[in-house]
């Protein structure tokens, strides 16, 4: 560690950005925390690398990166096809790359947001304590071909992180908001029995849902005083269409929120592919906190020999690791 390295962006599709844990602490000033859309993927990267810092988030856009220096990377979030030359890299792993390696990432149609981290994180410019792009707030910019991302050289073992699939939608648990009771009981019942489809329209601000039948309206919803909104809030627009709000949602809003997707389920909400079916069920805040998953489990990666063109040149197990992911 410590020796400078860089990763150069050779080609890059749209809306690929640098993301980290975001900028908490500015809600009073109208600045949302932002940061990685799939916080679980960030935790998985941290479990693999120790310090994952700021990484690359791609919403399914293909990406070609060249390493200038030896670095350990991790691949988490929505699975992509990752190759270095003729070597296929397993997803949900950390891997060591050497100078000159070119990493190709192609979408597989599974999930939405994929992440590439390097040990120690990319050392791009920090603004207000974070390197995360927040495009709505005019902080940072999408990556483009020719960008050079500084980082530190690193050595580290190849490991696998236990990651739960979260790409196909399913039931999302909600906690109530101060506006939940503004919805008449019949409307609330219908909401809880409706099968929603994740619409094609979705980004880091929010994901639109569609459904058969009428919208979900409160009485007098156009007269609400604007109040705080948080990522995970299920907000009804004026025509009663729900949006699940993402990390770059505004900090306040005047539309009613029927509920808030719990932290444990928010990665599944953000990763649901267009067309995925989503339903909702209410739980208590205590149940929501109890549902938070623990630290992701990490094991040494034992490569399939079939993936390795030059078996003798490979180190089969990169160090001995404990169950909690610390190198021993």
């Amino acid at each position: 560690m410590g020796k400078p390295a860089v990763i150069e962006v050779l080609t890059c599709g749209p809306m690929v950005t640098i993301q980290d844990g975001g900028r908490p602490g500015h809600l009073s000033q109208g600045l949302a925390r932002g940061g990685a859309a799939d916080r679980r993927a960030l935790k998985e990267a941290t479990a693999l690398l120790g310090d994952a810092g700021a990484g690359i988030e791609t919403p399914g856009s293909p990406l070609r990166l060249r390493c200038d220096g030896a670095v350990t990377i991790s691949l988490t979030g929505a699975p992509m096809k990752a190759t270095v030359g003729d070597r296929v890299l397993a997803w949900n792993t950390s891997q060591h790359l050497t100078a000159g390696d070119i990493l190709d990432l192609r979408p597989t149609g599974t999930g939405v947001y994929s992440y590439v981290h390097v040990a120690g994180g990319f050392l791009t410019e920090a603004v207000m304590g974070s390197r995360a792009a927040h495009l709505i707030a005019n902080i940072g910019a999408p990556l483009q071909a020719g960008d050079v991302l500084p980082c530190n050289a690193s050595t580290g073992g190849a490991r696998r992180v236990e990651a739960h699939a979260r790409w196909g939608g399913g039931e999302l648990r909600l906690v109530r908001t101060p506006q939940t009771r503004l919805f008449p009981p019949a409307v609330l019942d219908r909401f809880l029995t409706t099968r929603f489809i994740r619409d094609v329209r979705g980004n880091r601000q929010g994901v639109k849902l569609s459904m058969a039948g009428a919208g979900f309206a409160t009485d007098g919803q156009l007269n609400l005083l604007s109040d705080f909104i948080l990522p995970g809030d299920v907000q009804m627009t004026g025509d009663g269409i729900p949006y699940i709000l993402g990390p770059e949602c505004q900090t306040t809003g005047g539309y009613p929120r029927i509920g808030t997707v719990i932290e444990a389920d928010l990665p599944r909400a953000m990763q649901a592919v267009p067309g995925a079916v989503l339903t909702f069920r209410f739980v208590t805040p205590a149940e929501a906190r109890a549902a938070r998953p623990g630290k992701p489990a990490v094991t040494p990666l034992i490569r399939d020999p079939g993936d390795m063109p030059d078996l003798l040149a490979q180190q089969l197990i990169g160090g001995v690791v404990s169950a909690t992911g610390e190198e021993t």
Binding site: S28, G30, L31, I139, V175, S226, D227, Q250
Partner: protein, 240 residues
């Protein structure tokens, strides 16, 4: 259902919301600013962030049960009666009417005054930052006299520029970004609500007081040119 205010309710699984009012109300907003300042001055264990909005205070916590302590703090006094915490008084030059305020004529008519009287009223009104939102650092300011209780437009203006001063429902908003709006644009400033390169990227805080003195379009541009920090020639002083 009759709600009693102030009230504490969960917002998500990691925050509590203290709501002081269901409607826009000057005293309740002052209470929000004062209560939040008190929470910042005497932190409750387990609270990781506080913020105030038009009518509520958000209290983000780390999972600890902070509701009892918060309830005690809330009940300690009448927060609408507490003198305002330390804040700034801003003077932000504004060019009213013409191309910089294309809806000044209709806004003045709706408010029942001449354009000259409307500019005079807005240029001398001392308003408070009620909340920041929509875009980073973008203020909702008020509360203006009853004459300015203008309805929002039924159709959106496709876009107003950054720095636009717009009016509706007894409030002013100073746009922090180019955006569509249903409020009417009466003037323009060169004030950058959010500038990441500044030492203080977000200039305003809830509770700050603001006036928008009238300058000519050319003066506004000269002031902007001479102000590399993008405050648009604004000056400020601390209020105790």
């Amino acid at each position: 259902m009759e709600e009693v205010f102030p009230r504490i309710e969960p917002l998500g699984e990691a925050a509590l919301l203290v709501r002081f009012t269901p409607h826009l109300d000057d005293a309740a907003n002052r209470a929000c600013v004062a209560f939040r300042a008190a929470l910042e001055a005497q932190p409750i264990a387990g609270v990781v962030e506080t913020a105030s909005s038009l009518g509520s205070v958000l209290v983000r916590h780390d999972g600890r049960d902070v509701e009892a302590d918060l309830g005690h703090a809330l009940a300690a006094r009448d927060w609408a009666d507490v003198p305002p915490p330390a804040r700034r008084l801003w003077s932000i030059p504004c060019s009213y009417g013409g191309e910089d305020g294309p809806q000044l004529p209709e806004s003045a008519a709706l408010a029942g005054m001449s354009e000259v009287a409307a500019v005079s009223a807005l240029a001398t009104a001392r308003v408070r930052v009620l909340a920041l939102g929509f875009a980073p650092g973008m203020p909702y300011l008020g509360i203006l006299p009853d004459a300015w209780d203008l309805p929002r437009q039924t159709d959106l203006t496709p876009k107003v520029p950054e720095g636009a001063l717009v009016v509706a429902v007894r409030q002013l908003v100073l746009f922090g970004t180019e955006a569509p709006t249903g409020w009417r644009q009466v003037g323009r400033t060169a004030f950058g609500c959010f500038e990441p390169s500044r030492a203080r990227p977000i200039a305003l805080s809830p509770g700050d007081e603001v006036t928008f003195p009238s300058v000519s379009p050319s003066e506004l541009r000269e002031l902007a040119e001479a102000d590399p920090e993008r405050h648009g020639g604004a000056i400020w002083e601390s209020l105790p």
